[in-house]
Amino acid sequence: MEFFAPTSWAEALETKAARPDAVPIAGGTDVMVELNFDLRRPSALLDLGRIRELKEWDVVGGTVHLGAAVPYARIISDLADRLPALAMAARTVGSPQIRNRATVGGNLGTASPAGDAHPALLATGAVVEAESFRGVRHIPIGGFFTGVKRSALASDELIRAVLIPTAAGPQQFAKVGSRNAMVIAVCSFALAVDLDRRTVGTGIGSAGPTPLAARAAERFLAGALDWTNLTVPVSAARRFGELVADAASPIDDVRGTAAYRRHALAVLATRALRWIRTTGGAERDREPIPA
């Protein structure tokens, strides 16, 4: 096995072009597990940990440009106000040791349906900035995941950044697992409400071959929501939960059954909706919402 450690982004792209077989490694929290257990023997590793620009974030025209190798710990400390759903999801990633290393770029590169960042990225309409020596591509998150642990990345491309709109309204994230820490999601859900555009974004994790959005639920809630005080009738909240559950295509596996995941998603969706209404500050939670 060879080990490449470029010190600039240009060098990294050149190396990836020359060696598309090289497996990118940043925080190592996915790649090293596979190496330690001999589940994978790549011919080469491409360490992205020495490229400073990948570890920085910036705000450009209301959009957060999150470098692919910014660790989750910094998303929690630096970006909880601008990217609340992603920061909430970040807090559920692994443990403090994992959050000091693991990155959104790595989550995307692995493209697991259970990746904790993915529901928040879907709900907020993020764009993946991929680059190769051929040029830059902006891949909308909705088209990024192409199958179980498969993505739209080409073999010579690296993820440079994720472009995420600054929150324009309340956001929430919820995840089901057997502990609060060190848990691969049984299922997860993110909700982002855009008060300017009066749109709703959703993201579902661990309940399908890829992370996915519940488009029908988004349209329904955008129509049912009282945009002045963010209330909905109880029946509409229930319907929103049902539509989220309907959007999933879960399977039975070691972490849970398909039936449980559907049920839990409906609960998480109505719960996230209730949290959004109660975290707004005003007296909004007039009607009790089940679960």
């Binding site: 096995m1 060879e2 080990f3 490449f4 450690a5 470029p6 060098e11 050149e14 190396t15 072009a17 020359a18 060696r19 490694i25 925080g27 190592g28 929290t29 790649v31 090293m32 597990v33 190496l35 330690n36 257990f37 023997r41 790549p42 080469a44 590793l45 360490d47 940990g49 710990a73 692994g94 443990s95 403090p96 040791q97 994992i98 000091n100 290393r101 020596f133 502990r179 609060n180 820490a181 060190m182």
Partner: protein, 197 residues
Amino acid sequence: MTEPALTNPAATNAASKNAAPDNSVLSLRINGSVRSAAAVPAGASLLTALREHFDLPGTKNACEQGECGSCTVYLDGEAVCSCLVAARQARDRDVRTVEGLAEDAAPDAVQRAFIECGAVQCGFCTPGLIVAVHDLVHRTLSKANEGTDSAGQPDEAQIREALAGNLCRCTGYEKIIEAVRLATDELRAARGQVVAR
């Protein structure tokens, strides 16, 4: 290395410049000293390098997948699972292991607190927990110094969240949490004395 087939001249240049395999001697700073080892495999973890190439077995190997925290070390001042860092990612970086916490060959405040509180049973998780607690206590105290956290003592929920990546199968964690409080109190008192002088 085989010459890659390429259409892009820039990439060909890169192949000559960057694509040289990194099989050289691995040097990094461990507990304040520059250490070097040859023949550390490219896919080896920092944990393996510490234990098998640098003769530092204090850092424990239990799960090799980041679940248990037994291999926790500082990498450039941040607590990480050394099993999830490729050894070569630590080239020229600063690593501090449990062996590097003692001060003047005497246990540091966190190690003393673990002994005092009996926060040890079988001891296998202890080195990782000591490093994780060391990190928690020092972060808490530096926040208190900055005035962002007037309490200077983490509450139980904060302690449990900070130590969620370290599994202990013996103690039930109560005595470990006591040790966090004791170490924080002791270090805060010591710093207070320094300030008072």
